[in-house]
Subunit: 298 residues, 2 copies
């Protein structure tokens, strides 16, 4: 019971009474679940099947949303690789604790890239102009501006904006030169946000569902978490673009619009914790701690 | 090869040439490994066996260092619980993705607490005075001051200082009241730093070794990552205070002193990445991204 109480307290924002003396806050505070339940349908955005990747592992399905607004050329390339079934039979090759899980094929592998390019110019950042950023007001260690654009965490300064390396963000591995990546090798953040990678690697999207299948991959014992033997690798069954599948086989996901009133309410409820368990409401939040809700279309 | 190159680039700060035009930085930049290799013995601190906990799981050993400077009463209680072998046969009861792994015993369990108290007053923070904090200069989302004290990440403001909920930090679960924790239920952070828990739970120490045994625990499918069936739980073989064991059976760990010149050099090398792979050196760092090196005593 106490374990459950702790757990509930740690994450569930149940109806809470207001701090003493605060007239404005005497109404019960809705939980995250309640905030989402009360949201209008228009505050949700259907994920475009052209931007949705299904990666099927022996343990289940990981669903990734691509971010063409920030990585248009990588998006095109990843779609082409998926259509070529490039990753079918490829492997999880690396699992480094508090850092990344990575998948792809070994150097020298001859699997066809289909219509995809072998390398791309980087898409580390883009002009701020033309992007609708919902700003977060609290300071950030790494950038002067942080916030959310179309459901993705972003950072920016000096007229530029870029995707931020938060938990669950997916990036395109590269070698020493900026244009040595293609999207064929992908990694996902599974620990404390490695924001020093921002503007050093092209982020291409984020995991919407199934991150827990990747984050528990046994850590590799080789340098940097690479697996030392083929037996340690998990083989990827298939990777498909949702639009390739018949509609009946798709998972119709929606993400909460980060320019919606519901998202503003949710963010504030997480910034300032009024649930009774919280003794110190904090009143601040980091861009990588704001939840980005996903649901199956009702 | 490209995978390895990416990996190397992502984490290993190999000797790097300087950015063009920077006279002061033309010397090769040492890697993290080289910085540590060159450190004098006096920059390391032996972990006191009275503050070191060995938690043996079926998959290996987790080693935790307690932080009596910040949680003196919880430290005394946890030592007493270890001496009573309270956790022998207890279980990992919860694994919530991007949040915490938690262990303990169910409500109503009658295992003896030995000399330990059933509940303690919270130790959420303490006076800043009397603690030697090595400050980090970059802004933080959650507090006006961040840095390191005796090998632990800390935050503070208004004359107070507290341990920060970074990856690998260990805390004492509690119920709804501040004094409902005892250290008998512990959790470890396995995701993005949940800094909103700072000053809401008593942090008691950090994992020095073996965090990867906890972070890969299959995520629980119950609410908040609790396991729904007993079969999903991992049973803890034993938890011992290092000082209980004969010296020959101890692991003599040292942590890099966070008030040392080596730590300052290391921090700066991670703030500003001069390895050739990095195109954007960043020049900033978050308190939870600074490595806190641990080694077996040479």
């Amino acid at each position: 019971m106490r374990l459950q109480a702790l757990a509930a307290a740690l994450l569930v924002a149940a109806c809470a009474s207001a701090p003493a003396g605060s007239e404005a806050q005497k109404a019960p505070v809705p939980s995250m679940g309640e905030i989402l339940e009360q949201s209008p349908a228009s505050d949700w955005r259907a994920v475009d099947p052209e931007n949705m990747i299904y990666m099927d592992l022996p343990t289940g399905r990981v669903i990734i949303e691509l971010a063409p607004e920030y990585a248009p050329n990588h998006t095109v390339n990843i779609r082409a690789l998926a259509r070529a079934h490039y990753w079918d039979g490829a492997a999880i090759v690396r699992s480094q604790d508090n850092y990344v899980v990575q998948w792809g094929r070994d150097e020298g592998d001859t699997t066809s890239y289909g219509e995809a390019q072998r390398s791309l110019q980087p898409e580390f950042d883009r002009p701020r102009s033309g992007v609708n950023v919902t700003r977060l007001q609290d300071p950030d260690s790494y950038a002067r501006e942080v916030g959310f654009a179309n459901g993705f965490p972003v950072a920016g300064q000096n007229g530029r904006t870029w995707l931020a390396h938060c938990y669950g963000m997916v990036g395109a591995g590269r070698g020493d030169t900026a244009d040595s990546g293609s999207g064929a090798e992908l990694y996902v953040v599974i620990g404390q946000a490695p924001r020093h990678l921002d503007r050093n690697v092209t982020l291409v999207g984020r995991v919407l569902q199934g991150i827990e299948l990747l984050s528990v991959m046994p850590r590799g014992t080789g340098p940097l978490g690479f697996y030392e033997t083929p037996e340690e690798r998990t083989i990827i069954r298939s990777v498909r673009l949702a639009s390739e599948l018949p509609e009946s086989e798709r998972v119709n996901l929606q993400t909460l619009r980060t320019d919606s009133a519901t998202f503003r309410t949710l963010t504030e409820s997480r910034r300032t914790r009024r649930d009774p368990w919280f003794l110190e409401p904090t009143g601040r939040i980091n861009v990588c701690n704001v939840p980005l809700p996903v649901r199956v279309a009702p």
